[in-house]
Amino acid sequence: MPTAFPLPSDLSPATVTNTASLLRIVALSLISGAAIASRLFAVINFESIIHEFDPWFNYRATRVLASKGFYEFWNWFDPTAWYPLGRVVGGTVYPGLMATSGVIYNFLHALNLPVDIRNICVMLAPGFSALTAWATYMFTKEMKDESAGLLAAAFIGIVPGYISRSVAGSYDNEAIAIFLLMFTFFCWIKALKLGSALFGTLAAVFYFYMVAAWGGYVFITNMIPLHGLVLILMGRFSSRLYVAYSSWYAIGTLSSMQVPFVGFQPVSTSEHMAALGVFGLLQIVAFTQLVRSHVSSKQFQDLLFLALITVGLLGFVGVVGLTYKGVIAPWTGRFYSLWDTGYAKKHIPIIASVSEHQPTAWPSFFMDLQFLIFVFPAGVVLCFHQLRDEHVFVIIYAVMASYFRRRHAVAFSSLLDTYLDAAEPADAAAEESTSETSATNGASGAAATTATSSGSKKAKKGPPPAGTTALTDLVAVKKGDKPKGIFGLDTRLAIVMNAFGMLAFFVFHCTWATSNAYSSPSVVLASTNPDGSQHIIDDFREAYYWLRQNTPETAVVMSWWDYGYQIAGMADRPTLVDNNTWNNTHIATVGKAMSSTEEVAYPILRKHDVDYVLVIFGGLLGYSGDDINKFLWMVRIAQGVWPEEIQEPNYFTPQGEYRIDDHASPTMKNSLMYKMSYYRFAELFGGGPAQDRVRQQQVPKVGPTLDYLDEAYTTENWIVRIYEVRKEDLLGRDLKSANAFAKGKKRKRSKPVSRRRPIV
């Protein structure tokens, strides 16, 4: 291995290898430690809790797996989700994440380490981030060398783009998928380099794991064939490629079909056709090569080449034809939205309403990647320097990633980092000619990895010895090149300081971004007391716990789908819709109930056995993610199914404003959502002006009345409001007149009260 310093001659090679190996292990452990530690802000600032929405489902499923065993989990039909339809969980879930936690759980318990399943789930993502760092190291080592690998590992360990999806508690598929992605690519590169069927099979095994863990496996499914195709087109076909690809594809595809949720998709959907096509192409090319080696005729070779292209074209036409005829499923809407940001907004409101599916804003790239974003192009350029097969892979990855940046922010960052590895050479390339004093770098202990990597980089390029005596022994490899470059100590120092500064700021930025932006569980909100201490706003859990403890276990709760998983996880009650948005009509039904009048909504609620309706209202506290702000999505989704009953423009004022105050449109004011949000809200202000702090508007003094629902519970800060659906009147009256009667109002015989207007 290249070293920056000449080694003392009296050392045995074994000692050198062992020492280097030890140093690498220590460096990797430190990197893993840093990767894990920086993800613990969420636990330290808050607590060991599952974050956000989807993780709550994964956690719930994992608990089933841990308590009832894998078989039960596999056959789990959950009657409480999507009431009254239920959900076949075992067949509609990527089980990799839960299985991983289950295995860890059982393993620890077998060792008499009774770790709570929640803690395993919370700590899974940080744990796997350490593995990701290791996988990145391995990957980059294949690209370049160990030092670059360490640097890349350090980068991916703390880069905020990855941390944002893998903080402690963010128990989502990405938690393990990024590691699997990285490791599959490593195995692929290794297989390609060695032409090894073993590594090809390993790549297939990890590909299978990835398929079982995350829908993003399609990325690998297309990435590796693309790489293979580009290599063939570049005339780089080799038996190594043939062995690696064939072993990966055959085993990987067969095993991936074992995941119930994937099933026969690998042979029937367009997303997977590229892999199949390249597999076929490889066979043809290999056959051609075989024939050529026997025939050795220039013309024959040309002929074969032609035949090859014809067959390829035919295959393509065949696939297109089959797709057209419907044998192969056309690409799904979600997939289109990946390619075309505008697609979702135009066609599928439910997809567009998911924040994850929104295109990433440019500033967030800097937020997530900081200076990596600048060295990224340089890294790509450097890959061209020494264009081996694996570098082609990285370049393709780069192109793909910048295109897919929207959804694949994570993958992107990870890719970036793989770059980094390559990019660091870029970095080094700029400075290495100055033959930096790695000694100074090394002295600053924080950047030990930097030191080794930049040192080695320099060594690799073999810059000439510097003039100063202190630096004469800097050079490891002397190839007798003519010395060229910058030799002044000041210049070198400037570059070193610059590089060091960039790295240091990167660390600061990552720490800052992680602790401030990415470590909030979003189940718990934090604010600050006047004395500076932390104040926890815990309304969500308050409401869910109330539901759990004080309602019958079979009480059906209706809420917007965002809260479905949380209700199932924390309140343990059946829900109408949840974050697994598979049934658009069901969601639209909830949307319709929320956006229509009480009279219209009531039969819907009763038909779905709804006992409680839960809404999120941030008006008192200024919590902007509440249901009134999401309301237009409900309207839009409902409009998609009932266009003649729900019309979006009715919810705006004639001036086209979205208002909730006195000027709000009558449709808005009579909608169930509006009524539930503002029910008795104005009274809280004791006659003073009632201010909605999210929308900065004054709520009407006389609030809405409810005839078909009863307020059942409101949390401390009014964020969650729960209403109970009233049963039909025992005397057969409609509830509105029953209510009016109970309040002692006289029924006007001559002029019946219009049904439309609420009784004041």
Partner: protein
């Protein structure tokens, strides 16, 4: 037949002690302190012996009284020593054989006899005052059964008019004291002309007095009860929430290596007051809190006295940490010293607990083992005291399970409970770094009150080898990992050696 005879013979001697002419009650005063979950009943018997060398005094409780009395203590008035009380058990099974032998004492279910052993035998015509103190649980019930957020909280208490006794009673009275003067109603007894000519009941302030009733014949028999006994109802206002703990699970884990006693309580709390009528309105609750006029049946929070010197207290529920509470810890108190300082926990549930609502949570803490453990110098055994429970004031625990987890390898385990447990069992609990598991004592209790918060004493031996088990296990585990790494690094499994 033979067994019958011996049983009846034996019982005869027992019952002979309780015969009607061995004692006479010169006066009985029963004081009932009404409360929410707990009602304290103090009965003072002024006793005169009619026989020389009378040693056992028998008191009678009705079945209902016996069932609700979760704590019972007898002492001679003014003396600190508690007298021994022997329970004769449910009398019905004794009743049949006795009908033949003891004609004047016909017992049926409905009366429960307790024998109190006097500290010294009374001579003829000597007198003494015996105080019987009971704490009744589940003796009150909300009335009306539902109350809205603004309504006051009314409770009803039912008791019997007369204090039963197997002896003749010269005079007796019952004083029932309500916590507030607003007593909505009380029963006026009828047909008590045999005992009194005055008003059978008088009320002054918060106290209702039944009696005095004179010249009562031995009353612990069915004939008297069916003729004279009658129920008395008091309906009164109670201004504090009625707390009930349907289920309490306590796990106390003793760690010698950590010098730590960890106590964890899984508490299921329930507001046993009137169920909430209609629905909970946050607006009303906030208004009431703002004007400091909270409804009497709301539990906004609890103040608990935890032991001094605790650390790492935690309070969470099924949904995670509950961060609304405050804890003020007091410094550790040496063992056996009178602790006058407590760690104060102001515990706030996630939501105010309205009538009929439930709230379950977990509360735990670490405390220095030295505060509750000692070594018996003579035998070398460790003795650890673990309280049965940490009282939540004015509450009753319906069912409690106390688990005491001893250090791994503890032998010769013995334990003593301050009062008999419903059941006890030994098992093995396996936790962190254990190889064979820890011996565990599981005890079940019923109807615990503040008075029951007494220590359970556990003594055990831990041999040195058991102490060393953990470090050896850990060392072996680490060593095997390193050895494995050592070997794998040196083994070459390649088929083609390059």
């Amino acid at each position: 037949m033979v067994r019958w005879c011996t049983a009846s013979l034996l019982s005869f001697t027992l019952f002979a002690l309780a015969s009607a002419d061995s004692f006479e009650n010169t006066a009985i005063v029963r004081t009932v302190e009404l409360g929410g979950s707990l009602v304290q009943v103090t009965t003072t018997f002024a006793v005169k012996a009619l026989e020389a060398n009378s040693k056992v005094y028998t008191v009678a409780l009705s079945d209902a009284e016996k069932q609700t009395a979760s704590w019972l203590e007898a002492r001679v008035k003014g003396q600190p020593n508690v007298l021994e009380v022997a329970d004769r058990g449910p009398d019905s099974k004794f009743a049949v054989p006795f009908q033949h032998t003891v004609s004047f004492l016909i017992f049926y279910s409905g009366v429960h006899l307790l024998d109190i052993s006097l500290p010294q035998p009374l001579g003829l015509n000597a007198s003494t005052n015996i105080v019987l103190e009971t704490i009744q649980t589940h003796a009150t019930y909300p009335w009306p059964e539902r109350a809205s957020q603004q309504d006051p909280q009314g409770l009803k208490y039912k008791t019997d008019l007369l204090v039963l006794s197997p002896y003749r009673t010269a005079v007796q009275r019952t004083k029932i004291r309500s916590p507030s003067p607003s007593v909505h109603s009380y029963t006026t007894p009828e047909n008590v002309g045999d005992f009194t000519l005055d008003a059978p009941v008088t009320k002054s302030g918060a106290t209702i007095t039944y009696g005095p009733y004179n010249n009562i014949a031995p009353s612990a028999n069915e004939k008297f009860i069916s003729k004279h006994q009658q129920p008395v109802f008091i309906h009164y206002d109670y201004e504090y929430p009625v707390l009930q703990i349907p289920k309490l699970k306590r796990a106390a884990e003793i760690s010698h290596w950590g010098a730590n006693l960890n106590i964890q309580d899984d508490i299921h709390l329930r507001n046993a007051g009137p169920a909430l009528k209609g629905h909970f309105s946050r607006l009303e609750h906030q208004t009431q809190t703002f004007y400091k006029r909270s409804a009497p049946h709301v539990i906004p929070g609890l103040t608990l006295h935890l032991p001094a010197g605790i650390r790492n207290a935690y309070y969470y529920d099924l949904n995670g940490n509950v961060s609304t509470s405050r804890l003020r810890t007091a410094p550790s108190v040496p063992k056996n010293a009178q602790a006058n300082q407590y760690s104060l926990l102001e515990l706030r549930p996630r939501y105010p607990i309205m009538g009929g609502w439930n709230y379950s949570f977990t509360l735990g803490w670490d405390s220095p083992l030295a505060d509750s453990a000692s070594v018996d110098k003579t035998t070398g055994k460790y003795i650890v005291q673990v309280p049965v429970w940490t009282p939540i004031p004015a509450s009753v625990v319906n069912e409690a399970e106390v688990k005491i987890i001893l250090p791994e390898g503890a032998t010769d385990v013995e334990f003593a409970t301050p009062f008999p447990a419903v059941s006890s069992a030994m098992s093995t609990h396996i936790t962190y770094l254990d190889t064979v598991g820890r011996p565990t004592i599981t005890l079940h209790f019923k109807d615990l009150t503040e008075r029951h918060a007494q220590p359970i004493f556990v003594s055990y031996n831990v041999p040195l080898s058991a102490h060393l088990k953990k470090p050896i296990a850990v060392a072996v585990a680490f060593f095997s990992v390193f050895a494995f790494a050592l070997i794998t690094r040196r083994i070459d499994l390649r088929i083609h050696k390059n």
